[in-house]
Symmetry: C2
């Protein structure tokens, strides 16, 4: 087994929770894949087959975890508002507590004090915990001068049906893990740490493919059945860091190596969508459903031939196809790193599923990333009649904490 980089100890599943650190340490392992759990990743590097529990992502580093980490099977998004009376001091103490908890849990250790034991026995299971600040955070903590311009409100889009109670928030936390109990345990620990300083504003649960569910790692599918994420920038791209992360000498200085995240709860009108049938769905998207290849042929990664016409003289990839409208080269080179979870919260009274995408995208600057893409989609995307944006958030996610530091320290003690 040596050629696959896996020790027998790992294969036999006897490695403890503090086993080898794999996954997102380098950001390049299995990044484009839905799964880090089986086979080798699409960029040719080696990934672990088993045991899912022992995979560990590093908390400390240049960037926060959960941005280039392969998407996990289970995710929680949660926003908090500072409680009345809590200001900069309480926020600093909270971020210090949260960072300590995140570092411990991501290493597979219990929280300090009375751990609930919900994650006991399981390894870290690729747990990541990521922290961000919303626009409202800065006024409440007397840090208005430190508020990045990039947190200016997103423009209104015509497909927006936003629920304010489930939008924005002072603080945002993203939790992901390949085990649902590990993820829930982290969510509760983060909530407990917040007691007295912040309270939950909204919280959403999501999921992705489990590692090992596919025979080889591949781009994941969404609940419309589409291969989703083909055009994502790859860490091996020359300008990947530039597109996703604020530069080390960026402005404001406390956001060095950070990123901005746009979070949208995008409900899919699945009953309408499924009535369309495969052929019509493919025209809406501009790609084949089977493998994500463009309607003009090839494989998932083949460039679409946007000008190609069929026997009847019409464009093979329709003028309003999602794949055409959302192409980076149609948007002045804008690019964002999409890292979504699917969600499904049951059915409403009519039997329609409350399901769709917890769209999470990362960029160095939302005005060059999410905004121009969404503006184009808003005007002419055939997909828009099948989706409804139900909530929205925009958060500044600072760079990773060095050892001994907590996330946001450069802001809160700057």
């Amino acid at each position: 087994m040596a050629d696959n980089g896996i020790s027998r100890r790992r294969l036999l599943g006897t490695a403890g929770a503090t086993g080898l650190a794999l996954g997102a340490g380098g950001g390049a392992v299995g990044y484009a894949a839905a799964s880090s759990g089986s086979g080798s990743s699409s960029d040719g590097s080696k990934a672990a087959l088993a045991s899912l529990g022992t995979d560990e992502v590093m908390f400390h580093g240049k960037h926060q975890p959960g941005i280039t980490t392969p998407t996990q099977a289970r995710g929680h998004l949660v926003a908090f508002d500072l409680t009345a009376g809590a200001g900069r001091k309480e926020a600093a103490a909270l971020l210090r507590r949260w960072s300590g908890t995140a570092a411990r849990l991501m290493a597979g250790e219990p929280v300090e004090g009375d751990d609930t034991s919900v994650a006991r026995d399981a390894g870290p299971s690729s747990l990541t915990v990521t922290f961000g600040f919303g626009a409202s955070f800065f006024g409440r903590t007397g840090l208005a001068k430190q508020r990045p311009d990039a947190l200016d409100p997103l423009p209104h889009f015509s497909s927006d049906r936003l629920d304010k109670a489930r939008s924005n928030g002072d603080l945002w936390v993203q939790i992901g893990a390949n085990d649902a109990l590990v993820a829930f345990h982290a969510l509760r620990a983060i909530q407990r740490d917040a007691a007295g300083a912040a309270r939950v504003r909204w919280q959403m649960n999501g999921f992705n493919r489990s590692p090992g569910a596919t025979a080889h790692p591949m781009t994941t599918r969404n609940l419309m059945g589409q291969v989703d994420g083909t055009n994502n920038p790859k860490p091996s791209d020359k300008d990947f860091d530039e597109r996703v992360f604020v530069p080390a000498d960026g402005d404001p200085a406390w956001m060095a190596d950070g990123s901005y995240v746009v979070v949208r709860r995008i409900r899919m009108l699945l009953d309408d969508w499924e009535k369309l049938g495969r052929k019509d769905q493919e025209a809406v998207i501009g790609r084949h459903k089977s493998d994500g290849s463009p309607l003009t042929g090839g494989t998932e990664t083949t460039e679409p031939q946007l000008e190609k016409t069929g026997a009847d003289g019409t464009l093979v990839i329709p003028v309003n196809a999602h794949a055409r409208i959302s192409r980076p080269d149609q948007n002045g080179g804008a690019a964002m790193l999409r890292r979504p979870f699917s969600y499904h919260d049951g059915f409403d009274g009519k039997g329609d599923p409350d399901a769709g995408l917890l769209f999470v995208c990362w960029q160095a600057d939302p005005v060059r990333g999410f905004v121009p893409v969404q503006r184009k989609l808003d005007r002419g995307d055939a997909l828009s009649e099948f989706v409804r944006h139900e909530s929205s958030g925009l958060f500044a996610v600072p760079g990773g904490a060095a050892k001994g530091e907590y996330v946001g320290q450069r802001l809160l003690e700057g």
Copy 2:
């Protein structure tokens, strides 16, 4: 690797979706374990390490799948009511469609017609689909004479706070899989099959440990952090079949080799529970939180010493401890097979989690299984102030379908 019963082809994750059939074919593999994904199961048999996707459970057989199948990482429970005008004929056609869909999906094949592709690329991932009939089904289909006495309403318990809209139903379907997209795909296919004949009455989502999250298979934990399921009967027990399944010559005849399932949405008051602290929690349960061992010592499977007293003369395992009250030998030998999912549907307005257990238990006769245990718990269980039963269902789950047969055929065409 031969000694572990795993082919290299499987380990490398290159086996296709129609790979080896593992899992619950015999009901005895890894049954007691939270995971079929790593190491060997607690009864000493061999289980697969990877790849999670290729694990396949047989649809056809003596019993329906999803009863002795190891619990999967993701579960959906859904109840349907027949639409006005739908009777025995429509119900028979529906069960025929459902059985065909379940057999195909559990084998990793798409549904007939226009598959949504949501599960495409993934293997069956231990998908199971299980069908049951509620008491109200029989009158609506002119089959009142075939209604088993075992479907008589459950007694009222003092901790019941039942929501009728989320209780009972004409038909019940349980879906489980180790991949959330595979499970969702099956749920939608089952819902589509029902169109015109039945509509969703209620639907709930659940989860368990992911295969491979623990270093070796073990009894799973619930969201209170307790090892949960220690006293479950084991397929190797002499009287396992007798306790769980209706005998082949049972009454009514169409229930031969079937089972009765009690489904309860049990909300856990986690904020109250977690305020207790570990020591007090252990007194409520009567077991150590760390490993599930009785407070009187030993390991998880050690018999508790119920009469043992401490230095102060009081019982080590308190008189109202959950482990004492729920013991089968306290209930005339009653036994049920508990096979629950945890659930978490976000937080309510006060920040309290809407979370707990989708309690699913299987028995040959509810009057000898669930009812006497719950009656005892209702009277004197220290745990009851930390849980609230929010919904309840009781369903007759017929035996498995033979090839060419559909589930419930012996009832609907009997």
